[in-house]
Symmetry: C3
Subunit: 137 residues, 3 copies
């Protein structure tokens, strides 16, 4: 079994941002030399997420507005008594889920026609890391 | 390491539907010959989902109504400016999550007493694909 | 490829509870002898969840209150016609997701600075099982 682990760092300009990362993940898969296996793409922070969805900027705004509606900013979260102000980002992380598992077939992301991978930042403007671990043969 | 990949196609009669797939996944696991490993069960579309839950039709309706409440149909999604009308299906995909990882022990889905696998269609009435990739030994 | 499977049992005092399990998962990873691989941490019940988030009790209360708001208790779920009263727990399972995949690098949970693993019980006060399956080399 081969394994190959890469850490990507994101530092978004805005606090909340959706970053396409399909090409970076595909490059990591190629570099791994794995032909058949799985790639775990997982945020290393609990105020960010990773999703697979459509490459369509209008939809990205819909997704961000929906996340805000279901897991809104709110000054009254108990978490803020620790001095933090990112309670909503923790809830958005849970709502959107912090990881996806990517199938690798014949050395490539075995994707459907519209499947693109995105890093979702909910508390950015600082360095945040993401792990990609490829295992297989 | 063995790997075994199967693509299932669903074409639901209704636009939104919950389809039990445990038996199909169990057959794919048997066909793989894998005794110890993992099976990724992942929708190849971003308007469908895969979940593990209970085989109880009343609950299925509860789940569908809940999805509608949390990620409702709405003509005003920005995504619809592209000509699409399935913005809610993209949000339901994110809410329900598009994949599960199934543990395989002694050649079988290592399930709890009530765990059944379901494909959830949110924009059907056309061919949609699902990938099952088994890895292990 | 090595594999190592452990079943943990939880019996919470309260019906709904958040239980830190990072140390138990790390011990299982050490016991597996796997240096490079993945650990699937998956509830075997469909009224519980597994998440990665922050070790901060104020936040835990925020998370539980948020789950209650998005997937509330409600006597009118159809599922309750079967004699059950835990419809909300099934929806919370879907909302929070029943599993996480943990990356293992150099024999350890390859975690970001704040990533801790939690079992989330939504229908406890009875024995409930969780599976940890480690695969790798």
């Amino acid at each position: 079994m081969k394994s190959h682990t890469v850490y990507l760092t994101f530092h978004t300009q805005k606090r909340k941002e959706m970053v396409p990362i399909t090409e970076q993940v595909e490059q990591i898969i190629r570099d791994s030399g794995v032909q058949e296996g799985l790639a775990l793409v997982s945020a290393m922070h609990i105020t960010a997420a990773v999703i697979v969805n459509d490459y369509e900027p209008g939809l990205w705004q819909d997704i961000m507005e929906w996340a805000e509606k279901v897991a809104p900013e709110n000054p009254n979260y108990r978490h803020h008594r620790t001095g933090e102000d990112n309670g909503d980002a923790h809830l958005k992380n849970i709502l959107m889920h912090s990881q996806v598992v990517i199938p690798i077939t014949r050395g490539k992301f075995d994707a459907g026609p519209w499947q693109q991978i995105f890093y979702m930042e909910f508390d950015g403007q600082r360095d945040k890391r993401l792990l990609v671990k490829v295992i297989g043969e």
